[in-house]
């Protein structure tokens, strides 16, 4: 039976980098006989232009029907002044929420070939390999009530709500423990339990889930300390599990430790490992259309798709190996270029990965 892959090129550099990733996906499809059928639709700003909304109902229905989704990136300055429900990121938040993609995996991996690109000292980051597991469909991103209003004294005020239920925490904690089991067997749960009620429940439920994972070493850390420790000694971490907002902040901080955010993929999974896959970086409107964006994070997102949604480990590994070979050959897009390497554009980089595969 064929598998349906829905592709969202998205905004900014999205279409360029997705085009290269699709080449790699199609080659893998053929070579490993994966039986994938690709179709395309729009999300974010591009969807607003086409449908008048950042996520059309028909698009959502197609996304529900698909077996996996590949996304470039969404957003751009031309949509910044739209009303909130029409803005590109609302399409992203809605699809995450409607598809129940609660498990966001964000690796922060330092490629040995790019070790010099980090702003941290080599000895601090050499060999860095962290996985941030971020809760993606709950917490303050989606909590209600949330409102802006005028008080009786004429003053404006606004508020958001940060809620977590036991089952939401339990399922993301399980993802964290499962991932830790496949890796270094260390899980650090990050919260702010000395201040927040939701964090106290978070910590309690993570402790309960831990009973089923005696082989995984669990620690807890406050989010402020985690933000510090990521700078001070990032290699102390293996897997980090945290809530939606803390995960947003810490995963971006962690990815920047590698100095090559153009290399980092991500997966957002539902309870059945159906997933949406996208690069960690954004839509980079300033370089869109110039053919210079780095397609490797999107190509590696394809590899994550094969691994997590389809269990095609051989094909997934082959793509990762091809990327590594291309780096060994000295090919670099501008964002990861350094003295002595050969600077190439988006398409040449994609072609090189295809050739290496």
């Amino acid at each position: 039976m064929s598998k349906q892959i829905l592709v969202f090129p998205g905004d900014g550099i999205g279409p360029e980098i997705v085009a290269e990733a699709v080449k790699v996906l199609e080659l893998a499809n053929e070579k490993y006989q994966l039986g994938f059928e690709l179709s395309y639709d729009e999300l974010g700003g591009a969807a607003y232009e086409k449908y008048g909304t950042p996520l059309a109902d028909e698009t959502l229905a197609r996304a529900r029907a698909a077996d996996a989704i590949l996304l470039g990136a969404v957003g751009g300055p031309q949509w910044d002044n739209l009303d909130r429900p029409l803005r590109p990121e609302m399409g992203l938040l809605k699809i995450r929420s409607q598809l129940g993609l609660f498990g966001n995996l964000r690796p922060a991996l330092l490629y040995p070939q790019l070790a010099g690109a980090s702003s941290l000292k080599p000895e601090i980051v050499a060999g860095l390999d962290i996985l941030i597991v971020r809760e993606l469909t709950g917490g303050i991103y989606f909590g209600s009530p949330r409102e802006s209003r005028v008080l009786e004294n004429g003053e404006r005020m606004a508020f958001d709500t940060l809620p977590y239920s036991e089952s939401e925490i339990r399922r993301i904690a399980k993802v964290g423990f499962d991932m830790a089991r496949l890796r270094g067997k260390k899980l650090c749960s990050v919260d702010k339990a000395n201040v927040l009620e939701s964090s106290r429940l978070w910590r309690a439920v993570v402790e309960e889930v831990a009973k089923d994972y005696p082989d995984v070493e669990l620690s807890h850390m406050y989010v402020d300390n985690a933000a510090m420790q990521l700078v001070r000694a990032p290699k102390q971490f293996d897997v980090v599990v945290t809530d939606n907002m803390f995960g947003d902040i810490l995963s971006d901080e962690a990815s920047m430790l590698t100095g090559s955010i153009g290399m980092l993929p991500s997966a957002s999974l539902d309870a059945n490992n159906k997933g949406m896959y996208e690069p960690c970086h954004g839509s980079a409107p300033d370089i869109a259309g110039k053919g210079i964006a780095n397609p490797l994070a999107t190509i590696l997102s394809v590899s994550m798709m094969l691994r997590y949604s389809f269990g095609q480990l051989e094909a997934a590994n082959a793509i990762e190996q091809a990327v590594s070979n291309v780096l060994d050959q000295g090919l670099r897009t501008g964002d990861i270029w350094s003295e002595g390497c050969q600077k190439v554009g988006t398409r040449a980089m994609g072609d090189a990965v295809v050739a290496a595969l």
Copy 2:
């Protein structure tokens, strides 16, 4: 008329480092005829031991009556299992809130003498001098409702509320702009306006306040991007203003960029510049009582007190100069020690600053 300074030695290394800072404060008092009268009380774990609560009513009354407060640090593992209202940090949160200390100034300054201590490359952090202005008495730290409860289906859930009013945002924005005016005239306001209602109001009010500061260059940044940019290129920042929770996270991240959190003081000010002054680092229970803690952050907190609460710029500068001289002499506590320097303990470091003053 004499000025009343209330001193809280606090927990862990607090008493040791405060003892050295008090020596410096008393010398400055004499030398510059500041007319300070010092008195002592307890906050945090030490207060729990003495009064059965981390902030006694009599203590709060004395704090209200004082002209400024010097604090060591609070917290320790022996109080971790107390009920939340009895825990040391609740004393800290309560005194901040009750005294209206909404303006938290957290400098992240790289001392040239300690440049090697950072985990970042020298060219990334050399000359780093950021001031984080954190809102300290509002937001999710104090928002209500906040609750943990059992739902009808038997599941537990918990939630917190993140509220901000126009006046709360306005007053902290003013602090940010005022500080920027005294420094590099650049203010970056950090929020998550693409997701949070409270952040949208935050951004709108900061824009309004900006009209009164045409000489200050204002920018806005999302908190996830700010966490990244602090690692990538921290010197792009001059003053950063942000809410209570984001400020907690980003100020810790920023302070760690310097590699010497044992050097960083902080001030928490009310609307009349009455303030509580404390080091950015914590109570470090693991090294308490050993006489090896670094007292310089607390000594520099005294300097901030003289500057912000009493306008005694000459005395404040003299203390900063004395600290710099002691570093030039090669004296280092263990946390900032490097090859070729002389390792000294808490008391010897304090004495050296006194001698240099």
